[in-house]
Amino acid sequence: MRYIPNSQADRKQMLAEIGAESIEQLFLGIPEKLRLRRLLNIPRALTEPELLEYFRERSSKNEVGGTSFVGAGIYRHYIPIIIDALISRSEFYTAYTPYQAEIAQGTLQAIFEFQTYIAQLTGTEVANASLYDGSTGLAEAVLMAHRITKKNRFLVAKTVHPEYRAVLDTYARNLGIAVELIDYQADGRIDMSNLESRMTSDFGAVVVQSPNFFGTIENTHDISELAHSHGTLSIVNICEAMALGILKPPGEDVSEQRTADIVVGEAQALGVPMSFGGPHLGFIGTRERYVRQTPGRLVGMGTDHAGRRGFVLTLSTREQHIRREKATSNICTNQSLCALMTTVYLATVGPHGLREIAEQNILKTHYAVTEIKKRTEHTVLFSAPRFNEFVLQLDKGSPRIGLSLSRFYPELGNSVLLCVTETARRGEIDAMVQGLVS
């Protein structure tokens, strides 16, 4: 058996040294009535060539050539080849969690770099080593605000990704946390006057997403200021992390009043393949004074006895293996290898590359919108500025592009959410628009 080095001869020798007659003897502690006395009913073993063929066949049944113009929280961006070259090093991908710092400095330094990048991109003071994904990250951010403020009610924009809100609901319902939705206005942004009228210090936080699910850019700084003036916290969720290459970060402004307390989201857009929904990685950034309430792992800088600089998992007393039922969350892992992909991505494209790519997203989307308005009968909804997505209300028909919004926003009628990234060539956009012309 290819992954088991010990031959039959080795096994015999080992059994002799244990003093057992057979391997079966080692299982005598299991009552006979519980023993499975047949082979598992799973497919027979395939050899390497057969395995490759099996998976090639299934891979070819997925139509991934060309662009489907779908975003909705998972984005198709260029992924530099250097990322896979580096993360395929077994030093990185076959390493364990870096609990033993002396022999895990590679992983630990890379995570420290990731934490720094996220803090820079989001404008926050401190960020963690990553979370499972954006959706669970949002739930964790709300739980964190609940711990800080001891309040149970949260105001959440309806334009926060519907699946994220569904996950939040699953987490919140057994902890007595109530979520109240704020609607959007005609231009696609959150209804600010409604938000203002409903906001009181009874709420733990206001939660908005920018760019929001429709692709519309919110003024998170105004929203943070509003939240703070009413005695609540401000949480900003980001699904399209590429936007941070060009948009002013929610954690950065002239005064603390105008900055978000927690910036949370999904970093898949930065160097991680779409991979049919996972694995990806969530991120969370916050103010230094809230660091002890932050879920997940944290890597800190330290020194050894000789004064050498090194990195180490720190503040672990917040985590489940020590606090057990009083833990701040039950997250045992970060998404280390995916965080490494994002770190390599940001190192590779650099700040100018990131901004240039973000700009291309904006301009190509703008081009698509302009062409659609010029050449088709459909309506582009929401006039506020957007990043790389927009909602198209269809005059008639149901094209096989974008994401139909009938499940999430039935009030928008026959509408689709379309996404245009830097990977869409002009010819593809033109063809897409042509397809929409009746």
């Binding site: 002890r292 672990s316 007393t317 020590i322 606090r323 009083k326």
Partner: protein, 127 residues
């Protein structure tokens, strides 16, 4: 040397009473058990606690321990120095490592606390 003017709880907190103000901290035995202390979470001034209630917690690198009131009272002062230097609890648990001062609700509360000598016996038994 366990200071003789202190009273001790089974949870390893100490109490020093001067007039009706009680100063509270954790014992030398407790700080040894915890190891190097990295953080202590203390309540706000003005909070009232009953005897036995949790008033905060103390963290070392590998463990967290709750802090229990040895008597009932209202917090009138907390040791702000512990924010930047929690190691004072390790270095001087009965002096600079004091944690909170409370206005005691009453003085009969302390009947179930141990004297220094009784506490020394108590920790010998635990081991």
């Amino acid at each position: 040397m366990t200071p003789e003017d202190l009273l001790f709880s089974k949870e390893h907190e100490w109490l020093r009473i001067v007039d009706s103000i009680g100063t509270i901290g954790i014992s030398d035995h407790a700080q040894k058990e915890l190891g190097e202390i990295v953080y202590v979470e203390l309540p706000k001034v003005g909070t009232k606690f009953d005897n036995g209630e949790t008033f905060g917690n103390v963290e070392s690198v590998k463990a967290v321990s709750e802090l229990f009131m040895p008597a009932s009272g209202e917090v009138v002062e907390i040791n702000e120095e512990l924010g930047a230097a929690p190691e004072k609890i390790n270095e001087d648990p009965y002096g600079e490592g004091w944690m909170i001062r409370v206005r005691l609700a009453n003085t009969e509360d302390t009947a179930d606390l141990m004297s220094a000598e009784e506490y020394d016996d108590y920790i010998k038994e635990e081991e």
